[in-house]
């Protein structure tokens, strides 16, 4: 059976900030959901099902929070699901929602992802003290820094690449009113002067910790009729591999490579470097931009840093990456992946405002999680499949 076409007809996100003290968790998710519904010209009553995603429940201290959020998201009497695939969850949540449309189960699905880390302690949530195990790894940076070091060594990349990405994404964020970080005057000197947290990762080369949410309304072809500027889902893919095993390459993981190739195949893309116009890639530490460009096949192995260095990935370059400012500028963890997917949709709808990539027709949304082991990706297009 062939898939039903699926379109993004509404996108919404919150203003992201380190502490959204002005809203509760229901208030936060509704801020994004109502914007997405408004964009789609719909109300909660028009929605058939709700798919919610977020990272571990320990981030807010609420067990399976979708249960208490059912009313706030208008889900009463409807199907509601809760996805959790670590950092890739925002992406996989959107994919689960798209599959409900593509399978012909529903006509209009609201998908929402959020994190309100300020209501708990993220470091505690990620690294609880377990008896008989030492507490060595301080948060995600402690895990990923050695991978970055390995990449630099393998690719022979000059040390300033991480700094360049950090500056570029924060310059992009100045064009995005929803972004958490608006760092006027950001430059290389500022990044270089920031403390080395997990050598070789400096403070300004890391993502912030944000409260925020993202939502999308996905629709079948019939339900999308009349929608202003739908973004069509051309392909989706998910791949997972174990955290560690003998011989695993965590720097350029096969799950990411396989996921990208499956994605291009499904989207009918033979030459992603030519056919894709822009990408929103999950880059929580600046060095992951070149690492993922290679993993996605958008640069040759060991050459990703050259694209960054040449300015190709900046707005106005030949392949802008993270025009929204990316995870380096806003990081509500559970929502960060969905923001990548949603920003890709905004680009091909021509609705990205100040950070619009001129003439973007095909865009990639990417999310990853765990120890670089869970991948979720989609390609959206202005053109119907």
């Amino acid at each position: 059976m062939s898939r039903e076409p699926c379109a993004v007809i509404g996108v919404g996100q919150t203003r992201h900030a380190s502490r959204r003290k002005d809203v509760s968790i229901p208030g936060l998710v509704r801020e994004a959901a109502l914007r997405a519904l408004d964009d789609a010209g719909l109300t909660f009553a028009d929605i058939d099902a709700v798919v919610l995603g977020k990272a571990p429940d320990t981030f807010e201290g609420v067990v399976m929070p979708e249960l208490f959020l059912a009313s706030a998201l208008g889900a009463a009497g409807k199907p509601m699901m809760r996805v959790h695939t670590a950092g890739s969850v925002g992406g996989s949540t959107a994919i689960v929602a798209a599959h409900l449309i593509q399978a012909g189960v529903h006509e209009r699905v609201l998908t929402v992802a959020f994190e309100k880390q300020s209501e708990s302690d993220a470091m505690w949530a990620l690294s609880p003290r377990i008896p008989f195990q030492p507490t060595l790894v301080a948060g995600a940076g402690g895990y990923f820094a050695p991978l970055v070091r390995s990449y630099i060594q393998r690719a022979g990349a000059p040390p300033h690449i991480g700094v360049e990405v950090a500056v570029k994404d924060r310059l992009h964020a100045l064009r995005n009113p929803y972004a958490h970080l608006h760092m006027e005057g950001i430059d290389r000197a500022m990044v270089e002067a920031s403390p080395m947290l997990w050598d070789p990762i400096r403070y300004l080369e890391t993502c912030p910790s944000s409260d925020g949410a993202c939502a999308m309304v996905l629709a079948s072809e019939r339900a999308a009729r009349g929608a202003a500027r739908p973004a069509w889902v051309r392909g989706t893919a998910m791949r997972s591999e174990p955290t560690m095993f003998a011989g695993r390459d965590a720097v350029n993981p096969r799950a990411g490579q396989d996921c990208a190739q499956a994605l291009y195949r499904e989207a009918g893309i033979d030459d992603p470097r030519r056919q894709l116009d822009t990408a929103e890639i999950y880059v929580p530490f600046s060095w992951f931009e070149p690492m993922w460009l290679e993993n996605l096949g958008l640069a040759d192995e060991g050459q990703g840093w050259r694209m960054t260095d040449e300015g190709a990935t900046a707005l106005g370059g030949r392949f802008p990456v993270n025009a929204s400012g990316g995870v380096l500028s806003s990081n509500p963890i559970g929502a960060s992946g969905m923001l990548r997917f949603a920003e890709a949709a905004l680009q091909v709808r021509g609705m990205a405002g100040e950070h619009q990539v001129d003439g973007a027709r095909n865009a990639l949304g990417h999310a990853y999680g765990g120890g670089s082991q869970f991948f979720a990706m989609w390609i959206v297009s202005e053109e119907r499949p």
Partner: protein, 176 residues
């Protein structure tokens, strides 16, 4: 079910008006009894006797330390004990400078992936005994055991340079 409508009474008014509640503190305490699992328990018991006991995958023959119950690649239970030497080669490392909740080590500190002799998976551990800027890939290190041993990873205080010449890069290439 029908809920009778609430009769509309006079609106409550406060003078001065109440300010919005921006924050409430709800401390939650949940107690868990953590069980180490069969394979990890064998490893921890061996550690309390000063031995590093890995487990070998029956399919791909790789040795895991600490054991993970299964070989994650093959999806089968690991089945054979293998004694692993308390010395090995640094494959990659990290210097941590960031304070965090529950932190017990003094900053900055170095952690490294150590490929122990006889194991096929690097073991992530604290490195001491040299300035952070002298650590390098291929450096040989050995375990320094704690004064009192127990069924915990704390039985190894840290790894320190062993003084051996650096390992041949080919010996750890697939772990970098």
């Amino acid at each position: 079910m029908s809920i009778p409508p609430t009769p509309a009474g006079p609106a409550l008014e406060f003078d001065p008006p109440l300010s919005p509640v921006m924050r409430i503190d709800c401390p939650v305490r949940l107690d868990y009894t953590i069980a180490a699992g069969r394979e990890q328990s064998r490893f921890l018991r061996a550690m309390s006797r000063g031995h590093l006991l890995g487990r070998r995958c029956p399919e791909c023959r790789k040795v895991y330390l600490p054991p993970r119950g299964t070989c994650p690649r093959c999806g089968v239970m690991t089945a054979e004990d293998v004694e692993v030497q308390p010395r090995g080669t640094i494959t990659t490392w990290c210097v941590t400078n960031v304070p965090y909740e529950g932190q017990v080590l003094e900053l900055p500190y170095v952690t490294a992936s150590v490929l122990l002799d006889g194991a096929d998976l690097p073991f992530y551990f604290l490195i001491q005994g040299l300035p952070a800027d002298q650590i390098r890939m291929g450096m040989r290190v050995e375990a320094e055991w704690a004064d009192t041993l127990g069924p915990t990873l704390d039985s190894i205080r840290c790894f320190r340079p062993s003084g051996e010449p650096d390992a041949d890069p080919a010996s750890y290439a697939e772990h970098v």
